[in-house]
C-alpha cells in the first residue's frame, strides 16, 4: 500500500461518472449472503461509512462490492486514521523523484541513477506463523521495489520482540530470522543491516518490518498506472488461491462453494523461487517497453492493484475473474478479488503486445493471462464469465475513504513513568564493572551476528559495508558510487516520549548513515502502533508524526513513503509506539567509506558531541533494574545537524580512520564495539580512555544522549580534526588512545577506573544471543 503522506486528498466523486449507465449494473450473485448491518460491521465498516458507500454507488452494493470497499477502505489501504496527520510530513526536495503514493519512493542518487526504497510491516502474519509471515514480508517489499523498474540490491529489517527468556519469544524470533533469511537468500538479495530490540513491551506483538533498496537508471522508472484506454490488463506470476482472504469474520460456508473450512487458511506461504522468476521477468518486461504499468497484488490483491492503478491515472478498469488463473476450484469473485496469494502482479500491457509479454513470462516459466482492459469509464468493473459482479467508481474507492483525526491524550501510566525520579537507580547495584558487562551483554546491545549471519550479506558482490556497523553500504554496480541505509527506532524512547523518541529515531538513523561517510538523503517509515481508536494511541501517533516531521524537515531528509500498521495489540495491551525510520544516503566514492572499528595502536580517540548523561529510557535502567522510565534523551536538532555535517566533511577529507555513533548502551557499548571490531575478520584492539566530565559514572558510560560519535584518526591528523569540529561549532575532545591488539579496554573517570579484558568483552558481546538461542 502506498503511504499517502502528501495524499492528493481527492474529494469523493459524487455518484458514478458518466458512461457506466450504459452498462448493466451488477446483480446479487446466487449464493451471496444478504447485506445486513452485521455483515457490514464484520467488514469493518461503520454505518456512516456504509451510508457513504450507498451514496457513491447510488444503490445497494452487492456482496462482492462490499468486500471490495471493505478492503479499500480498511485501515491498511485507506489510511483512515493516519492520512490527515501524515500530510504534515515533509515530502519534497530537489532530489526526490517520487514521493509518497506509489509502490515505493524514488530519489536521484547521481550519476544517472535512481534509488527506489520502501519499508513495510508484516507484524500480524509473523505473530501467527513467524517463518512464513516474515518470508512473505520480504517478498512483498521486494515486489514494491522492482515494480518501479528498480533491481533490488539490498534488504534491511527492523525487529522488535519480547524478552528472550520467554520460550515463545525465542520461537518467534528464530522463525522470523530464518524466514527473512531464507526468502532473501533464495532471491539473491544481500541484507545490509537492520536492528533487533528485545523488550517486554513487544511480548505478545512482535514488530517485523522489512525494507528494500533498488537501483535503476533514472529513465527506467515506471509507475503503477493504468494508462491508455484499450490497453490490456494481465495477471502475471503465481496462481490465485484462497490465502489470506480479507479479515471478514462470517461463517466460511457462505464464502466458498463446497470446500471445507480448512481449505481457507489465513497463512500465506512464500515461494521465493517464483519471486526470483517474477523479479527477472518484470525487469525484462519493463525494459521491453511492452507495458505501461505494473503493480504488486499485495494487500487486498487484485482489488487494490486494479483500483489503485485506475485511480492514479483517472481511467477505469474492467476485468473478468473467470480469466484469472486460480490454484483452487470453485473460487467466488469475492475470493478472487480479495485473495492475498503471494508472488503475483497486475500488468497493463500495450494493446497488441500481449503475446510479447507472454513470451517473456514463458522464458521465466511463469504465466501471464489477459484478464481485462483499461476503460474510459472511471470505474472498477468486474465480471464473472461476462456477467457483471461489481461496478464501482474507482476514484472514491481509492481516495474517497473517510479519514478521521481523533483527539488523543497521553496515558497516565506513561506520564508517571516518564516523570519518575530515576536518581535512586543511578548507583549500579553490583558495581560499575558488573553494570558494564551486563549492559554490553544485554541482548539489545550485544552483537546481532547470530541474526545477520543467517542472511546472505555478500551476494552480487557490491556489499561494501555489511551488517555489524552503523549503516550498510552497497555499491551501485559498475560505479564507485554507493548508497547507505539504516533502520532505527528505540521503542522505549518512543514509549516514554513519542515526540522526542521519533525525533531520536530520525536523528539516529541519519547519524548512522553519516558515520559511514554517506550523506543522509531521504526517509521511508513504518509506523507500528496499537489501536487508533484509543485516545492514548492517537496521542502517541500524533506526537510521533510531529517529531518525525520536525526532524526530517530540519535534517533535510524528506519522507518518500512508508507504511502504517495499527492494531498491534493483544488483550487490549498495545506495543510500544514504534515509528521505524529507514534512512537512505549517498556516498560518491565507496573507497572512502568509514568503518566503525578502531584500527591501529597509537591512534587518538576523539569524542564528537557533548556528554549530557541521559539515563531516561536507557538500556542500563532496563538491564539492571527492569525499568522503563524517565525522560528519554532529547534531540537538539541544530546540534545534530552540525555534528552530521562535520563528520561528513571529515570523511570527505579522508581524515577518519573510524567513526561509530553512540546509541543503546551508551559509550560503554560504542567503545566495546570499536575495540572488538568485526567478528571473524576483524582484529580486536584495546583502548585507554579517560573522561573528565562532571557526570556520574553511570550517566557517563551508559547515558544515551544523542548527537555523539566516537572517532579515530592518524596521530598527525588530530589537530585538523579538532579545528574542523571547532569550525562547525561541535564540541570535540580527545578521550584516549587505541592500544595493542587484544589489550584491555581501560576507562578512567573522575571517580573510577575500569579494566575490561578483551576476552571478557568478547564473550559477553558475541556470546549472549547464540547462548540463548542454542540452549
Amino acid at each position: 500500500m502506498a503511504n499517502p503522506a502528501s495524499g492528493n486528498g481527492g474529494a469523493p466523486a459524487a455518484g458514478g461518472p458518466g458512461g457506466t449507465a450504459t452498462l448493466e449494473s451488477p446483480l446479487p450473485r446466487p449464493g451471496d449472503p444478504a447485506i445486513t448491518p452485521e455483515l457490514v460491521e464484520d467488514h469493518g465498516l461503520s454505518p456512516d461509512e456504509y451510508a457513504q458507500i450507498r451514496r457513491i454507488m447510488g444503490r445497494e452494493p452487492t456482496f462482492t462490492e462490499l468486500g471490495v470497499f471493505s478492503a479499500m477502505w480498511s485501515e491498511h489501504c485507506g489510511y483512515k486514521n493516519s492520512k490527515r496527520l501524515l500530510r504534515l510530513l515533509p515530502t519534497q526536495a530537489p532530489w526526490v523523484i517520487q514521493g509518497p503514493g506509489e509502490n515505493a519512493g524514488v530519489i536521484d542518487v547521481g550519476g544517472g541513477y535512481a534509488l527506489a526504497f520502501k519499508i513495510e510491516s508484516h507484524n500480524h502474519p509473523s505473530a501467527v506463523e513467524p517463518y512464513q509471515g516474515a518470508a512473505t514480508g520480504v517478498g512483498g517489499i521486494l515486489r514494491d521495489v522492482f515494480t518501479m523498474g528498480a533491481r533490488p540490491v539490498a534488504t534491511l529489517n527492523s525487529l522488535h520482540f519480547g524478552d528472550l527468556d520467554i520460550p515463545r519469544v525465542r520461537y518467534l524470533f528464530g522463525g522470523v530470522v530464518k524466514g527473512l533469511g531464507d526468502y532473501g537468500n533464495c532471491v539473491g538479495i544481500p541484507s545490509t543491516g537492520g536492528e533487533v530490540y528485545f523488550d517486554r513491551g513487544y511480548e505478545d506483538n512482535p514488530i517485523v518490518n522489512a525494507m528494500c533498496l533498488g537501483l535503476m537508471r533514472k529513465e527506467d522508472l515506471i509507475r503503477g498506472t493504468a494508462e491508455g484506454v484499450g490497453n490490456t490488463l494481465m495477471a502475471v506470476g503465481a496462481r490465485t488461491g484462497r490465502d489470506g482472504i480479507h479479515g471478514a469474520t462470517f461463517a466460511s460456508e457462505e464464502l466458498s462453494e463446497g470446500d471445507d473450512e480448512a481449505s481457507r487458511p489465513q497463512v500465506q506461504v512464500g515461494d521465493p523461487f517464483t519471486e526470483k522468476l517474477l523479479l527477472e521477468a518484470s525487469l525484462e518486461l519493463i525494459a521491453s517497453g511492452h507495458i505501461v504499468g505494473i503493480q504488486d497484488m499485495g494487500a487486498a490483491g487484485l482489488t487494490s492493484s486494479g483500483a489503485e492503478m485506475a485511480g492514479r491515472s483517472g481511467t477505469g478498469v474492467e476485468m473478468d475473474v473467470a480469466l484469472v488463473p486460480v490454484r483452487e476450484q470453485g473460487m467466488t469473485p469475492y475470493e478472487i478479488l480479495l485473495s492475498e496469494s503471494q508472488e503475483r502482479m497486475l500488468v497493463v500491457a500495450e494493446a497488441g503486445k500481449e503475446d510479447a509479454v507472454r513470451e517473456i513470462l514463458e522464458k521465466w516459466e511463469l504465466e501471464a493471462e489477459t484478464i481485462g482492459s483499461v476503460t474510459a469509464t472511471g470505474s472498477f468493473r468486474v465480471l464473472e464469465g461476462g456477467v457483471a459482479v461489481a461496478d464501482i467508481p474507482a476514484l472514491p474507492l481509492t481516495d474517497g475513504c473517510p479519514t478521521y483525526e481523533r483527539q488523543g491524550a497521553e496515558g497516565d501510566d506513561v506520564r508517571e513513568l516518564r516523570e519518575m525520579d530515576i536518581a535512586p537507580y543511578v548507583e549500579p547495584p553490583g558495581g560499575l564493572e558488573d553494570a558494564f558487562l551486563r549492559v554490553v551483554g544485554s541482548p539489545n546491545v550485544a552483537s546481532k551476528q547470530w541474526v545477520y549471519e543467517q542472511y546472505d550479506t555478500t551476494v552480487r558482490g557490491n556489499s561494501i559495508e555489511r551488517p555489524g556497523g552503523d549503516a550498510g553500504v552497497i555499491r551501485i554496480p559498475g560505479t564507485n558510487r554507493g548508497v547507505a541505509a539504516s533502520t532505527d527506532c528505540n521503542g522505549r524512547h518512543t514509549y516514554l516520549n513519542p515526540r522526542a523518541g521519533a525525533m531520536g529515531a530520525v536523528a539516529e538513523a541519519a547519524r548512522n548513515v553519516a558515520c559511514t561517510g554517506a550523506v543522509p538523503m531521504a526517509v521511508t517509515n513504518c509506523l507500528n502502533f496499537g489501536s487508533p481508536l484509543k485516545s492514548h494511541i492517537q496521542h502517541q501517533f500524533r506526537e510521533a508524526v510531529l517529531g518525525m516531521r520536525d526532524a526530517c524537515a530540519y535534517l533535510e531528509t524528506p519522507v518518500t513513503g512508508g507504511n502504517v500498521s495499527f492494531y498491534n495489540e493483544t488483550d487490549g495491551k498495545a506495543v510500544y509506539p514504534t515509528p521505524v525510520i529507514g534512512m537512505v544516503g549517498v556516498i560518491d566514492d565507496v573507497e572512502a567509506v568509514v568503518r566503525y572499528a578502531f584500527r591501529d595502536p597509537g591512534d587518538p580517540i576523539l569524542l564528537l558531541g557533548a556528554n549530557t548523561g541521559e539515563l531516561g529510557g536507557s538500556e542500563y535502567l532496563y538491564a539492571l533494574h527492569g525499568l522503563v522510565a524517565g525522560e528519554p534523551p532529547p534531540v537538539d536538532l541544530p546540534a545534530e545537524r552540525a555534528l552530521q555535517r562535520c563528520i561528513l566533511a571529515m570523511a570527505q577529507l579522508r581524515l577518519l580512520k573510524s567513526a561509530h555513533d553512540v546509541a543503546s548502551g551508551g559509550l560503554a557499548a560504542t567503545l566495546t564495539e570499536c575495540c572488538l571490531g568485526r567478528p571473524r575478520t576483524g582484529r580486536s584492539v584495546g583502548a585507554a580512555v579517560r573522561f573528565t566530565d562532571a557526570l556520574s559514572d553511570t550517566a557517563l558510560l551508559f547515558g544515551e544522549d544523542h548527537g555523539r560519535v566516537v572517532l579515530t584518526c592518524a596521530p598527525e591528523d588530530e589537530d585538523r580534526l579538532l579545528r574542523h569540529a571547532a569550525n562547525y561549532g561541535v564540541p570535540c575532545a580527545r578521550i584516549g588512545t587505541v592500544t595493542d591488539p587484544r589489550a584491555p579496554l581501560e576507562i578512567e573517570t573522575p571517580s573510577s577506573r575500569l579494566r575490561l579484558e578483551s576476552e571478557t568483552l568478547r564473550e559477553r558481546y558475541y556470546g549472549v544471543i547464540p547462548d540463548i538461542m542454542n540452549q
Binding site: 501467527v128 506463523e129 488461491g241 481449505s263 487458511p265 497463512v267 500465506q268 506461504v269 515461494d271 517464483t274
Partner: protein, 89 residues
C-alpha cells in the same frame, strides 16, 4: 519397557501453497511424467521411544506432535506406525 519406532508424517495443510511440491511436480512433468497430477511434500519423522505398550508410544508421539513436531498453523500430522526397533530406517 520396550523400544518402539513411531512413524510420524507431517504434511502441509490442504489449501496452503506447497512450493516444494509445486517445484517437484514441475520437474517431474518436464522429465516426461505426465501422469503425475499433483505433488505434496511433508516430513517423515521416526521416533525411537521406550514405552510400555504401542498405544503408550503413540500417545506420547501425539503429544510431541502437538507440542513440537508439527506446526498447527500450517501442518497436519498422522502417526502411522508403532513397531519394533529399527523400523523405518
Amino acid at each position: 519397557m520396550t523400544r518402539f519406532t513411531v512413524e510420524v508424517l507431517v504434511t502441509p495443510r490442504p489449501g496452503l501453497l506447497d512450493p516444494q511440491g509445486k517445484a517437484i511436480h514441475h520437474a517431474l512433468s518436464s522429465l516426461g511424467y505426465d501422469a503425475v497430477e499433483d505433488v505434496r511434500v511433508g516430513k517423515a519423522i521416526y521416533l525411537e521411544v521406550a514405552a510400555a505398550t504401542p498405544e503408550d508410544a503413540r500417545e506420547r508421539a501425539e503429544e510431541m506432535c502437538r507440542k513440537l513436531l508439527a506446526n498447527p498453523v500450517t501442518e497436519d500430522f498422522r502417526i502411522t506406525a508403532a513397531e519394533g526397533d529399527g523400523a523405518g530406517r
